[in-house]
Amino acid sequence: MGLLTNILLAPFLGPIWGTKWTLDKVDRAVREELTDDTPIKEDLMALQLQLEMGEIDDAEYVRREKEIMQRFREVREWREKLGMPTSGGPVRVAEDDETE
């Protein structure tokens, strides 16, 4: 959670040159970090590769997979909270001229 930590702490540690623009920007960046599962997918793929290459054993894989799954769930929760589309869960064919 490097980026997020930096963003959350920066205003307290650094000089106060914040403006409305910065606040918007921070908000957007935090939102993005909370709701983007791309880096999690990449971590999962990297983990799989490590297992395939014999760099980690099964137990280590299972342990780290658990952490990654937890991160997926957190992102999904944030997306739900913020009313963004999520993957997983039941779906149905969208009805054309219906927006809810």
């Binding site: 990449e42 999962l44 793929m45 990297a46 799989q48 590769l49 395939e52 290459m53 894989y61 997979e65 799954m69 997926f72 769930r73 999904r76 739900e80 589309p85 999520t86 993957s87 997983g88 869960g89 039941p90 779906v91 149905r92 064919v93 969208a94 009805e95 054309d96 219906e98």
Partner: protein
């Protein structure tokens, strides 16, 4: 449609919770009658079978309404079903974790996307996918680059000879030269691999590389009849580069990377 009960449960199904109500969809195939694929489904060996609409079928298993985490176990179950189906059928793979509330909803998908599924199945007829990841052994590539590049060799000799007096600048310059030469070598390898596989594949797609040792992460669409030629070609390329590169070759897969139907799906409430 109005919302009934609330959204999905998370992770593992609670016992007795809507069990068997939903349908997990693995893939779409052309089939106009019922068919069983065995008890190989996600969630511990659920029965896998076909749900038909005209000459199309969705390959499904019954499931509680849950969100499936992409754990290795779940992903392997999903893939294993598709591999099994693929032995006999050309298929359009569904994304991992696609769950419909009922058979009726699955039929609605087949009906509404009938034409697109039919067209894609036609295009993908007898096509299979192979994955090829190429990783380099950094030390060996560095050694090769130093051997083949006069300027790098000369600079390196100079630095070693005058270890004490050699400047920070000279070392920096060497580092930069090596980096550039590595980059150039990596591009050359990747282009060569693609060139050699062009004649034995129908299409290829490069995906983002994973980690810092991977230089190629590609998918190739191959005609079933050309599978053997493709296979032999990959082996010959990996022999050609065996001192420098590590080839990870997987498949046959369903054409995950070559089918892109935008399904109009929404969250079922």
């Amino acid at each position: 449609m109005t919302s009934g009960e609330s959204a999905a449960e998370r992770s593992e199904p609670a016992p007795g919770d809507n069990t068997g109500e939903g349908k997990y969809v693995y893939c779409i195939i052309r089939l106009d009658r019922s068919r069983e694929f065995g008890e190989i489904g996600i969630g511990g060996g659920a029965r896998v079978y076909a749900v038909n609409h005209n000459d199309l079928a969705a390959v499904v298993s019954d499931t509680p309404i849950v969100i499936y985490d992409p754990t290795r176990e779940n992903v392997l179950a999903h893939e294993f079903v598709n591999e099994t189906v693929m032995r006999e059928f050309t298929l359009i793979p569904m994304s991992f974790g696609t769950v419909f509330r009922s058979e009726k909803d699955v039929l609605a998908l087949l009906k509404s996307t009938y034409q697109a599924f039919t067209d894609v199945l036609e295009k993908m007829q007898d096509k299979i996918e192979f994955g090829l990841k190429v990783l380099w052994d950094r030390d060996k590539v560095v050694a090769a680059v130093e051997r083949d590049n006069d300027e790098i060799r000369r600079l390196k000799d100079e630095i070693t000879r005058n270890a004490a007096s050699s400047t920070y600048f000279a070392r920096m310059q060497l580092g930069r030269l090596v980096e550039a030469a590595m980059e150039e070598a990596s591009n050359r390898y990747v282009v060569d691999v693609h060139d050699q596989l062009k004649d034995v594949s129908v299409a290829s797609r490069s995906n983002k590389v994973i980690g810092d040792r991977m230089i190629l992460n590609a998918a190739f669409l191959v005609d079933r009849q050309a599978e053997k030629q493709f296979d032999e070609k990959v082996k010959s390329i990996s022999r050609q580069y065996e001192d420098l590169l590590n080839f990870k070759y997987t498949g046959p897969w369903p054409p995950y990377n070559f089918v892109n139907i935008k399904l109009k799906l929404e969250k079922a409430t």
